[in-house]
Symmetry: C2
């Protein structure tokens, strides 16, 4: 990363890490600021960042080296693929040093510079992110902002924007206004660059809903292209009211899969609609139309293998969750580009998209709870998403099949623990129920 403080470097690093990790590419962020806090302590005033403060300069270089060394270790021992070195790297000299150190170890370098002169964007960034940093704990917000602005001034004195055309780089100018892309040829580099070009920072909401209960749900069958049940129809009737209530006067687009049950669920919604084949349910191949019980009887080995590694298990003639993630990548890219979207899809496809936004690991992803007759609202924030569940009060069968053997309650992942109450139900306090 390259850029003055409060230019969104850490935001960009986090987004890239989440995107690549979701795709199955091992990615880690090495934030030099964290190393500096660890080595030199917190609550440093802006004078610590003055280039004339030679003692501090020495400590800061030490932090930069410590982060770099950990990064080398991670590449070697943990077999990492993409490391993001999150620091200002604001001089040609510093970048030349980095480029030399990295190239010597056969690590390809992509510089990502974030340039921004819009005072409002910078102030918003300081307010949203920097004031909650441990550096400013307990300080009055106005004083903290003033100190941070002074800190930026120290960096500005020596800051040199990227002009080294021998390097591979992307320069992001004024949050999406302009991009300058230099010598980008590799596969991963191109992927990262394209992803960055699709990000925007306008506020948005994403709603996910499974189709209303289907005839196949009632019969405990998987796959197929069944109609929705009478209770599913009731859910379809209730959906416009629920969405209107929480949407306000924002514009909205509705995406469904190409399957009958999602199109039927969306039919009373009066918004522009798009049907994506990519949102179709996980293809269960030869097991299409069977019950779990039938699968267990007919393919007992497969059934056991699926529980062992559900993310990678591919149905005979069908797909795995890993296949789904790749199929959904263009949908995620479009989701990033858009503002308010309601997606009506299926258990497995919603799990994959939900995992992207909530940063779930691949082993958690296939077990995420996406209940029927419930709308999940996600509001992206600086470093994650806020989640709300709106459960519509229309009964539906429970299609959730827990891991076998189940994970003991005291080994729930952090994310599961935050969503699931002791009874195994989603905690009530997170469900603003819509009375009908």
């Amino acid at each position: 990363m390259v850029g003055l403080p409060a230019r969104g470097k850490t935001y960009i690093s986090t987004k890239i890490r989440r995107y690549l990790t979701w795709l199955g590419i091992k990615t880690q962020v090495f934030n030099v600021g964290v190393y500096r806090q660890r080595l030199s302590g917190l609550n440093k005033p802006h004078t610590f960042f003055d280039a004339n403060n030679s003692d501090a300069m020495h400590q800061r270089k030490e932090a930069a080296e410590a982060a770099l060394n950990d990064m080398f270790q991670w590449f070697e021992k943990d077999k990492g693929s993409v490391a993001i070195y999150d620091a200002t790297n604001g001089t040609r000299e510093r970048r030349a040093w980095l480029h030399k150190e990295l190239s010597a170890r056969d690590i390809k370098v992509l510089f990502i510079e974030s340039l921004c002169d819009d005072e409002n964007v910078i102030l918003a960034n300081i307010r949203d992110v920097k004031l909650s940093s441990p550096d400013y704990e307990g300080m009055n917000p106005d004083d903290a902002t003033k100190d941070f602005m002074e800190r930026i001034e120290h960096y500005k004195e020596f800051y040199e924007t990227l002009t080294e055309d021998e390097y591979t780089y992307i320069k992001l100018v004024d949050v999406g206004k302009q991009y300058i892309i230099n010598k980008v040829h590799g596969y991963l580099e191109s992927k990262i660059v394209y992803y960055l070009m699709n990000l925007h920072v306008r506020p948005k909401r994403i709603w996910f809903s499974r189709h209303g209960e289907s005839q196949f749900n009632l019969e405990d069958k998987i796959g197929g292209d069944a109609d929705i049940s009478p209770r599913g129809e009731m859910y379809a009737d209730a959906l416009p009211g629920l969405i209107e209530k929480h949407l306000g006067d924002r514009p909205l687009t509705v995406w469904t899969s190409s399957m009958k049950r999602t199109i039927q669920t969306a039919r009373h919604l009066q918004y522009p609609k798009k049907h994506w084949k990519a949102l179709d349910e996980l293809n269960t191949g030869v097991c299409d139309g069977m019950t779990y019980k039938e699968i267990e009887e007919k393919y007992p080995e497969d059934f056991a293998r699926r529980d062992e590694d559900k993310f990678n298990y591919r149905y005979r003639g069908g797909e795995s969750y890993r296949d789904l993630v790749l199929r959904l990548e263009p949908v995620i890219m479009e989701l990033e580009r858009h503002e308010n979207i309601l997606i009506i899809a299926h258990q497995a496809t919603i799990r994959c998209m939900y995992a992207y936004f909530m940063n779930l690991e691949h082993d958690e992803l296939p077990y995420a709870r996406i209940p029927l007759h419930t709308v999940i609202e996600l509001v992206p924030r600086a470093y994650g998403c806020e989640e709300k569940l709106y459960k519509v009060d229309i009964e539906a069968v429970d299609t959730y099949r827990p891991k076998v053997p189940p994970r003991p309650t005291n080994q729930l992942t952090e994310h599961e623990a935050s969503r699931i109450g002791a009874s195994g139900e989603i905690a009530d306090n997170s469900i603003p129920v819509l009375p009908l």
Copy 2:
């Protein structure tokens, strides 16, 4: 388009048109040079392009306007989606005029500038493309080159590179070295920009082969994940020799689908391999494992509908050719980025990729002949691909199912006529047979 002559504007226009048309987006190129030739005649010497030649300047503006008016007609009457206005557009004034005229009609404008100062690239472009222009028919190549260089000089005198940051644009610097992307936000604009960033002009070859004959082929069944037959094994044995012979010492990567029959066919090839799920055969849903005869009996209506519009026909619970094109888009993008690739896949997936490179219409695509035990070699040239077929002398069943009712021989498309002899077989002269 924006750029001096011989900067690849027409090449870029043609590529974009082919790519978008393949995706199903109606696209047309309006080349002002062609209008100028039509209005003012051919064989104009470079003095015609001198800005002091006011009479000629008048005629050239007239050509620009005629092309623009046809473009407006096309948007309105033919309901086109993307028009490419292929001309120099080398001054701020000309671009302001265009931008005003287009915006007034609610047409969004994306400027694509190709900048290049590499004398060798420019000379190569003149030699490969310009000398065969009707403007230079019958002229000695050296004189023609000299005249064309003079023509460029006239344009250079007034050329202004894009700096109007209020416009949406992409600037391509030195054939892929650098890209400057300004205010690109729309869906189609982003798609075009990403596509342009993946193009390169290094020479390359693409080889397509279907898997060796499979057990299902022998039984006339579609779909499934069958093994290859004994004759399929013989083809797999013969493949390394054939490839080696035509590859020479170029590097190669082999891509297969995730299905057994393509992986088995590739197994004796000693090159890096990648297995793409996206290359899997068209999913035939409920018809998987059936013969065409069984389908006709069980789903007679579907069977007839498929013949009516094979590109859009989607198998129940399965895919259409249109779905396949979308699924294959990332593969095409990777093919554009790579140099030499051998793809071992399936009839339908190869048809889609073949159609992209050979510029087939959607109604021709599902009927393209991709015979078993044959390697198709494509060599991309400036405005199309050269094709060669290498038929391996190992018998295989013929899985080709012609259109019903068949297209009369005198109504063959231009492409079909070029490939298919009167007997309905692929013409012998295009098949360098490898003796075994």
